[in-house]
């Protein structure tokens, strides 16, 4: 139930940001610091998500098959592979490493 509440609250929050841009006086959002922070937020959030989801399980830092998947994904991104290829290669690599190294 709390998951549903969080989902709907997040949907509302995201919608209000969209609406705010069309409604709010330009001066507020055009302040350089506000623009700068909102440009940096996706960078730090995505970077942290990559790190946390690859190298942790719950509250423990771990190094397992996901790291190999991410490494391959990194190469694919660097080679400018399409998004779905990046995701599929990461999953495939992780699955293969798990097959070879049980428990990883």
């Amino acid at each position: 139930m709390s998951l549903w509440i969080a989902i709907l609250a997040a949907c509302l929050g995201c919608y209000l940001f969209k609406l705010a841009g069309l409604s709010v006086p330009r001066t507020l959002l055009e302040r350089p610091k506000v623009q700068r922070i909102s440009a940096l937020l996706p960078v730090v959030l995505l970077s942290a998500l990559v790190a946390v989801q690859t190298f942790s399980t719950g509250s423990a830092l771990v190094l397992d098959a996901r790291a190999a998947g991410l490494a391959v994904a990194g190469i694919a991104v660097w080679r400018r592979a399409p998004f779905l290829v990046v995701v599929a290669l990461a999953a495939l690599t992780t699955a293969l490493v798990r097959m070879w190294v049980p428990g990883s």
Binding site: A10, C14, L22, L40, L46, A73, R79, R80, V87
Partner: protein
């Protein structure tokens, strides 16, 4: 630019985004959301970076509230897009309420930079509506497809989400500062993993972005002004035949081009300098 060219560009972006929606549906199900929770995200939240963010935190065992906070912060960039679009679209009342939902990376990219206001409005609505339809269809397909799997981790789907984030992050890593901030955020997040509840490390990492943004000396206007030309290449990429699922443009060496499409919204990094200038 003719009406049919604008529509063709929009259709190309919509189809590609729909393919990306398939991966969202599959990842969300593997992350522990059910069918309707996932569809609610695609229908109501309708901004891919935020959707992936919420699912990622939940999949990691984080509190729903931490997932919601992450999603909302990732969605903040849409306010900047709306700001740039408001004069062009000039919508009021109920129409504004509906139009707001379509303010995303793709619709903004396919709107700003057109040669006439008429083309810009058409690009916005055609892309926004097209992506909405394809994104939701893709999500449903991904959900149904993934539900056939008994154990998603056997297929390595737990590595799919971080790979998706990496692909979303890559176009934003332009210049030393972006790399430094990204690395700092990753290190800070990992350091606090054992110390705070699941889901919170990402929020703490967000502070790194806020602090970096508040540091003096580097205003947004410093960024490469050529970036502001970004959205116009949407058509070019489409003509490259970079369709179905090609979220990262793999062909063009023009830095702006590959940043264009994905929903994680490379756009904001570049939407902003032109707004500031």
């Amino acid at each position: 630019m003719t009406r049919s060219q604008v529509l063709r560009d929009s259709a190309g972006v919509a189809v590609a985004t729909g393919a990306y929606g398939i991966s969202f549906g599959a990842i969300a199900l593997a992350g522990g959301l059910d069918f309707w929770q996932t569809m609610a995200l695609s229908l109501l939240m309708f901004t891919g970076g935020s959707q992936f963010g919420l699912v990622g935190v939940i999949a990691g065992g984080g509190a729903p509230i931490a997932g919601a906070a992450t999603a909302i912060m990732l969605g903040a960039r849409n306010a900047l897009y709306g700001l740039r679009l408001s004069e062009l679209l000039n919508v009021r009342g109920g129409k504004r309420l509906l139009t707001a939902q379509l303010v995303i990376d793709e619709s903004t990219a396919m709107s700003i930079g057109r040669d006439s206001d008429r083309s810009a409005r058409l690009g916005f609505y055609a892309t926004g509506i097209g992506v909405f339809v394809c994104w939701n269809l893709g999500t449903a397909v991904g959900l149904v497809g993934a539900s056939w799997l008994s154990d998603p981790s056997l297929l390595g789907l737990d590595a799919a989400a971080p790979a998706a984030f990496l692909a979303l992050l890559a176009p934003r890593l332009r210049g030393r500062e972006a790399w430094a901030v990204a690395l700092a955020a990753a290190v800070v997040a990992l350091i606090v993993v054992p110390l705070v509840p699941v889901g919170v490390p990402v929020l703490i990492a967000a502070l790194v972005g806020v602090i970096a943004g508040l540091l003096p000396g580097r205003s947004a206007g410093r960024k490469d002004p050529a970036d502001s030309a970004g959205p116009t290449e949407g058509g070019g990429v489409d003509r490259d035949g970079n369709d179905g699922g090609a979220v990262v443009d793999h062909r063009s060496d023009d830095g702006a081009a590959d940043s264009r499409r994905r929903d994680g919204g490379e756009l904001d990094g570049r939407a902003e300098p032109s707004g500031a200038s």
